[in-house]
């Protein structure tokens, strides 16, 4: 099987979530899903742009989607739910002709409107398939208890994202189960991590993220698998902040689900990039996989 899809890493993919990007690329390559880089891609028009100007934000998304169209492709995958929201929102908004006209005015080349944006998670489930993933497993994650945390916007709003159940999504659960991990029933899969409050109100973020960590520990998870750079940052990088604020002492790894896929598929460590995480999952992983626990 060889399938190709345009790949939109998003700005965090080049920075804070580099390991998400590298692991995604490596895993997809190994699974035969060819991620084709979009030449000259730019910002998706996320937070800074769309809080200021919806037209500008949509134009930025439309620009990137048209670049995909120019590649002769009809779909793009992105690892970042925030990018995904923005790309899909733009597609939705330009269905109204007057809005599209305003957007096109800002563009060198009008957007044809027929490029679909999906998450890497969706691409892995739909374009690759669980059977293929299962077949690619070399080191089953047997014994590893994982809580899958999707974040609040991966499936919301459901009419726009049109993928999985928005209250009880299962895509990542299914993938990790395919890798051989024991997926614990995590009730707060789509709860808010505090997201952008990290800067203005770190106390709110600490509380909300703390609740997530508490629930994960409560259901016996060894680690929390995530699919969103911002969630990952709040749960991992800010874990000590959480502990300070809540009087707890968590030290639970928060890897990207693609990194765990990399482990199961024997991808090179350099691509998995565990070293970039705050809480290193490797000790927990080796303990779990060796059946020591």
């Amino acid at each position: 099987m060889s399938e190709a899809i345009a790949y939109y890493p998003g700005c965090s993919g080049l920075g804070t979530s580099k390991e998400y990007d590298t692991s995604t690329r490596a895993v997809c390559a190994a699974l035969g899903l060819s991620l084709v880089d979009i030449p000259d891609w730019s910002c998706c028009g996320s937070t800074p742009a769309h809080t200021k100007d919806h037209t500008l934000s949509a134009a930025l998304s439309a620009r990137n989607l048209q670049l995909v169209a120019n590649m002769g492709m009809t779909a793009a995958a992105t690892p970042c739910p925030s990018c995904l929201t923005n790309l899909r929102t733009a597609n939705h908004r330009i269905e109204a002709a007057p809005f599209k006209a305003k957007v096109d005015k800002l563009l060198d080349e009008p957007y044809g409107g027929d490029v679909n944006a999906i998450s890497v998670l969706q691409a892995l489930v739909e374009n690759v398939g669980l059977d293929t993933i299962k077949a690619a497993v070399r080191t089953p994650l047997k014994g590893l208890k994982v809580a899958c945390y999707y974040g609040c916007i991966m499936n919301r709003p459901p009419e726009l994202m049109a993928f999985d159940d928005c209250e009880n999504p299962m895509a990542m659960d299914n993938i990790l189960a395919a890798l051989g991990a024991e997926v614990v029933p995590f009730p707060l899969k789509v709860e808010c991590c505090g997201a952008s409050y990290g800067i203005p109100r770190p106390d709110v973020t600490a509380k909300l993220s703390g609740k997530l960590l508490e629930a994960a520990v409560g259901v016996g998870a060894d680690m929390v698998a995530v699919a969103c750079p911002l969630c990952q940052m709040n749960l991992d990088l800010r874990q000590s902040q959480v502990n300070r604020a809540m009087g707890t002492n968590y030290r639970i790894p928060v890897p990207y689900f693609t990194q765990l896929m990399g482990v199961a598929m024997n991808i090179a460590d350099t691509e998995i990039g565990f070293g970039k995480l705050n809480v290193d999952p490797r000790p927990v992983l080796s303990r779990a996989l060796s059946g020591a626990d």
Binding site: D165, P185, P187
Partner: protein, 652 residues
């Protein structure tokens, strides 16, 4: 033609934004209009008398009334012109209230628009012809579809009125939702104790034929003469022989099936009598779980049945019932709580519906009337009730209020306290809707005497923590977030249209709203009539209703049927299609498209021609727009009439 135009003020309803004087004056310039006036209330007695007087004084041969919608008063004015000696079809209305005065305040534009609407009414009237209805006989039998409390009441009232009644029930017993309730609000009466006798009356009434475990398959005909095909589903038990002794249920080896009567919170056997008071008290076999059908061998019930009533080879049977009127009383179903994933219904066993809770409370329920939670059978202490689950929620396409949930939740908190004195009930609500007699007092008692804690706010999420359920919501009065550790969560699932309601409506040729509830003829004045003559509504099939409302509607529908049947002959609506035999080329396209099979092919001087069957034609006019040469014309809505209206608007 001598046309009179009457422009109604409707008090200030029209006059407020339309200069009716100018409309009347301008109407005098229209062709064949010889009289025009404005009038205060055209529909009032003096108003109607004025029309009648003018017809006589001015020798009018046709009348236009510009007032409200013809859907309201067209019959009124038709009767008025008929009293004055005109044919009642020599009358047209211009709707200058609903379509003009009430939808804008620009007096100049409204007056101008009213003039246009009068103009097209005059042009249409000029092309009207007198129509004479023909008469046909009435079959004085009535069918009631649905054996809930509304249908039971309608059936008993009709039967007591001397009519032959055919009652069709989808389940194996009548009783409907009311039979599943433990107690009723606000009297906390025993539900089955007050319903039971009525059910027995149905069984024993000589005028009532009951088809239980049956569904309406097809309906043809028209008011006075419907033919209804009823599918009697196979019960695999010969009900002539079954005595309802229950021996089969005791021995049936397939015991773990979800009990539909108990809202699937308890098990039942494959051969089953749903509850002790069932009418008819007969057993039926669920072939999807019965070992004889699933595995091909068992036959235990056949062996133990003392009367030898078991028939594994039984098949569905169609019986045809000829009736003159039909009452739809098909009730409602509950909103599927699993659609609101954040509440965990369907995912967490201890999140249940109010009706399931009703079964837990009921002495005839799966727990014998002891409240035990489904997951582990423990008695719950903290019980959270969530209101408006699938009601008043636009995002779920359920914007309407289900009406009775506030009340039954209050009742359930009271019963909970009675059952478990050391329990605590919490109720998350949006508003308390308790507008019935003694209703509000009842909810107050729940709070004040029984200590139920009412929290005004929505629940955001229910999630498990250990063996508890965490209920997180807002208390909008306190302005805080609340989180309650619950043992059991009861969702007041909203009412929605019964499954299959739209399909039945299509068979009945009645309208239904976007949620599947049947449409009444007029929301205020014709609450149990439909727009299809001879078809009436009772109970929650029209919209959520509590028991007294449903019973009242059952009686109302029965009264309508009795009034209809008080005449031996009915008049057919003469607004039907007619064939110009000279123009008809016999291509049969009208026959193909007629939804009522109201057109037949006949031979006329050796040529094929179409002919309309007067009593069958419903006057939709599909044939008229299908016939390329316009040889079949719908009376009162002919091509020339519509073209005259078009031309009047285009050329004015």
């Amino acid at each position: 033609m001598r046309i009179g135009v009457f422009v109604c003020h409707c008090g200030s309803n029209i006059e407020g934004t339309v200069d009716t004087g100018i409309v009347a004056k301008t109407a005098l310039d229209f062709p064949e209009v010889v009289f025009a006036t404005d009038t205060m209330y055209a529909c009032s007695e003096p108003g109607q008398d004025g029309i009648i007087q003018a017809i006589k004084d001015k020798n009018l041969t046709g009348v236009v009334v510009a007032s409200c919608t013809p859907r309201m008063h067209e019959p009124t004015f038709r009767r008025a012109v008929e009293r004055a000696g005109l044919n009642r079809f020599m009358f047209e209305m211009a709707n200058i209230r609903e379509h003009v005065s009430w939808i804008g305040k620009d007096r100049e534009a409204n007056t101008n628009k009213s003039v246009d609407l009068v103009r097209i009414a005059v042009e249409k009237l000029r092309r009207d012809a007198p129509l004479i209805p023909s008469k046909f006989s009435v079959n004085k039998r009535v069918m009631i579809i649905g054996g809930g409390v509304a249908g039971i009441q309608a059936a008993l009232d009709c039967a007591d009125g001397g009519l032959e009644v055919v009652l069709v029930e989808r389940d194996s017993s009548i009783g409907g939702k009311m039979a599943k309730l433990d107690k009723t609000f606000p009297t906390v009466d025993c539900s089955s104790c007050i319903l039971g006798p009525k059910m027995v009356d149905v069984a024993q009434h000589p005028n009532i034929t009951l088809h239980a475990y049956s569904e309406v398959d097809a309906i043809s005909g028209y008011v006075g003469n419907f033919q209804v095909q009823v599918k009697k589903k196979a019960t695999y038990v010969d009900w002539e022989l079954c005595t309802g002794c229950g021996a089969c249920m005791e021995k049936c080896p397939s015991k773990k099936n979800p009990d539909v009567f108990n809202e699937k919170i308890g098990p039942c056997t494959s051969i089953n009598i749903p509850f002790p008071q069932a009418i008819p008290k007969k057993a039926y076999i669920d072939a999807t779980t019965c070992r004889q059908f699933v595995k091909g061998k068992c036959g235990v019930c056949a062996k133990v049945c003392p009367t030898g009533a078991i028939r594994y080879d039984m098949t569905d049977e169609i019986v045809t019932e000829d009736v003159g009127a039909i009452v739809a009383a098909t009730g409602y179903d509950l909103f599927d709580i699993s659609k609101i994933a954040e509440y965990g219904g369907g995912r967490y066993p201890d999140v249940i519906t109010g009706l399931q809770y009703e079964r837990l409370l009921s002495a005839s329920g799966p727990t014998g009337g002891h409240i035990k939670r489904p997951s582990d059978g423990k008695e719950p202490k903290n019980i959270v009730f969530i209101q408006c689950v699938g009601s008043r929620d636009k995002s779920l396409d359920r914007p309407y209020c289900s009406g009775f949930c506030c009340m039954y939740t209050a009742k359930q908190t009271i019963l909970t306290k009675d059952h478990i004195p050391d329990s605590q009930s919490y109720v998350f609500y949006m508003d308390i809707r308790a507008p019935g007699k003694m209703y509000d007092e009842f909810t107050r008692r729940a709070m004040e005497e029984y200590g139920a804690r009412y929290i005004r706010g929505r629940v955001a999420m229910v999630y498990p923590k250990g063996d508890k359920l965490m209920v997180r919501g807002a208390d909008t009065l306190a302005g805080t977030q609340v989180e309650i550790e619950a043992d059991l969560v009861v969702l007041a699932a909203g009412a929605e249209a019964a499954k299959g309601a739209p399909q039945l409506a299509e068979k009945l040729r009645i309208s239904y709203d976007k949620y599947g509830f049947f449409m009444e003829s007029h929301p205020k004045l014709k609450p149990v009539e439909t727009n299809t003559a001879g078809v009436y509504l009772a109970g929650s099939c029209q919209g959520p209703k509590d028991i007294p409302q449903s019973v009242g509607q059952g009686s109302a529908a029965a009264a309508k049927v009795l009034a209809l049947f008080s005449k031996d002959m009915l008049e057919s609506d003469p607004q039907i299609s007619r064939v110009d035999i000279k123009r008809c080329v016999g291509c049969g396209k009208c026959i193909m498209t007629c939804p009522f099979k109201a057109i037949k092919e006949v031979e006329f001087r050796g040529q094929k021609k179409a002919e309309v069957i007067e009593t069958v034609c419903q006057g939709c006019g599909i044939c008229t727009s299908t016939c390329p040469q316009g040889a079949i014309q719908l009376s009162h809505f002919t091509d020339n009439q519509i073209l005259a209206e078009v031309n009047a608007l285009c050329q004015s």
